[in-house]
């Protein structure tokens, strides 16, 4: 118990001290997670929409494959991306390994299936009359899609929250592709893993609490949208 209290107090101390190093780590974490979530939305929401929208040959297989990708271990993603961007890989020349970009690529692969799957689930439950109404009122395909996505936003926003939570809390990919290089690719979670490895459990959990506080802040913001979605 002491341990948890210590951690919590240390977390407060960390925030209070506004340590430069901590700020850099937080900033890297937020930046990388935000970008990968954004890309996942840009790819996953339209993809989910297209898959949910109409029946086509192989649809069920595609959904099953997507569901399978949800169980993709970060180690596999990490090594998979590694195989491409390491010096010997075909994108080796771009010098991506151990950069934030590498983390973003890996995390993107991790969460695109999440956003897509839930977009499909959310859109499938939306009454077909919304589509018909939008179309008959003169909306084009794009505007119709927006209407449907708008109606499904409660589910879609939930999937974005899950995806964001997944990447900001993710450690494997960040470690493998980012390399946990101090000042460059050290994120909250890789820092936590490091402190944990060092045996600095209190510091590790303190960092975790800082992360959760950050995430709480983000969610108050998200919740504003999800609340609006309920009108």
């Amino acid at each position: 118990m002491d341990f948890l209290i210590d951690s919590f107090l240390s977390a407060l101390l960390l925030i209070w001290s506004m340590d430069h190093e901590l700020l850099v780590i937080v900033q890297v974490s937020l930046k990388v997670s935000a970008i990968s979530t954004l890309i996942a939305c840009v790819v996953g929401i339209p993809a989910g929409f297209l898959i949910a929208f109409r029946p086509f040959y192989g649809k069920r297989l595609l959904i099953t494959v997507l569901n399978t990708l949800l169980a993709m271990p970060t180690v596999v993603i990490g090594l998979f991306v590694y195989a491409f961007i390491s010096r010997r890989g075909i994108f080796g020349a771009f010098d991506l390994l151990y950069t934030q970009k590498a983390i973003i690529i890996g995390q993107m692969i991790l969460i695109i299936p999440i956003v897509t799957t839930f977009t499909i689930a959310a859109i499938s439950r939306i009454d077909d009359r919304y589509r018909k109404t939008a179309l008959t009122l003169g909306a084009n395909i794009f505007q119709t899609a927006l209407i449907i996505i708008r109606e499904a936003r409660f589910g879609i926003v939930a999937s974005i929250i899950v995806a964001f939570g997944r990447v900001i809390a993710e450690v494997g990919i960040s470690m493998m592709l980012g390399g946990n290089a101090k000042g460059f690719t050290r994120t909250m979670t890789t820092a936590m893993a490091l402190e944990y490895d060092k045996g600095e459990f209190v510091l590790s959990v303190a960092l975790g609490i800082v992360l959760l506080m950050l995430s709480f802040g983000m969610n108050v913001f998200f919740n504003y949208f999800q609340g609006k979605a309920r009108v």
Binding site: D2, D6, S86, R87, R88, G92, L97, Y98, M175, G179, N180, A181, K182, F184, L194, Y196, D197, K198, G199, E200, F201, V202
Partner: protein, 278 residues
């Protein structure tokens, strides 16, 4: 600037010890070189060198390091320093190894009495050392091999352990810190590097509930080497910087810093290039 940036793969223990945090700032002050440190298991760290992902590696697995250089990945190897391993166990010491100096004899006693022993089992430097020690005990050793395919050809990946895996010998495949806590939890024996042990024993509020029971056997020495990647193999590596860094590391100044570095009041690393450095 960015062109004075080196990427270095090293083992987690090097980074965790905190030694790099005193060495690297001094390096930057002296040479302007900044180092991007990627810490991972010894195997993975060497692998980074083989794949040309880094400019220099700083690890502790002497035989593998030498092979690395021989295979043409490394330009050269410089011995930098060593620390040493110790065998720890519960204070009660049920096997009674406290008086033995020879590490092999200690392990033999543990194996004979089937007292619990925790192995890192992760192919790290520590694990490599441990395997060698078990071999020296003369106890029967089992080799587990898994066939995989590399470059289109079948290859075997092997792993050795004394008979009794899962009964008294636990292979947990984790880092040093985790192995220590695991051993504490199970009140078992284990092989650990002194630096990590000191940190866990004295660096935390609830000190580790394990004692050093065997130390000082030269077999337990753990040498660290630095190897710049050979520019003939990978033309993109910043060999010049790497070379300067490696040379700086064996300079009296850096060796002095190493000698003066203390964990919980005790010297953790012993310079090898300039043995008398202060």
């Amino acid at each position: 600037g960015a062109d004075k940036l080196l990427t270095m793969s090293t083992t987690t223990s090097t980074e965790n010890s905190g030694l790099l945090d005193v060495l690297l700032p001094q390096l930057e002050k002296d040479t302007g070189i900044r180092v991007k440190v990627i810490a991972k298991g010894t195997g993975a760290a060497i692998r980074d060198g083989i794949d040309g992902n880094v400019d220099i590696i700083f690890v502790h697995a002497k035989s593998r390091e030498e092979k690395f250089v021989k295979d043409g990945y490394g330009a050269y190897r410089l011995g930098v320093m060593h620390n040493d391993f110790v065998i720890v166990g519960p204070e009660a010491d049920p096997v009674g190894i406290k008086d033995k100096r020879s590490a092999a004899a200690v392990l033999k006693a543990i194996g004979k009495s089937k007292a619990r022993f925790i192995s890192r089992g992760d192919d790290s430097g520590t694990h490599t050392k441990e395997q060698a020690l078990w071999k020296a005990t003369g106890l029967s050793i089992k080799t587990v091999t898994t066939e995989i395919i590399k470059k289109g050809k079948k290859r075997k990946v092997s792993f050795q352990h004394p008979v009794g895996l899962g009964k008294w010998y636990f292979s947990i495949g984790q880092g040093m810190g985790k192995t220590l806590t695991y051993a504490e939890e199970k009140q078992a024996y284990t092989l650990v590097d002194r630096g990590t042990y000191l940190k866990y024993k004295y660096g935390r509020k609830e000190g580790l509930d394990l004692e050093i029971l065997c130390e000082g056997d030269p077999e337990l020495y753990n040498p660290y080497g630095i190897i710049p990647i050979d520019p003939e193999k990978y033309s993109h590596v910043k060999f010049e910087l790497a070379d300067r860094f490696a040379k700086w590391l064996v300079s009296p100044k850096a060796q002095g810093i190493i000698a003066r570095y203390k964990i919980q009041g005790q010297q953790a690393f012993f310079p090898d290039a300039v043995p008398g450095a202060k």
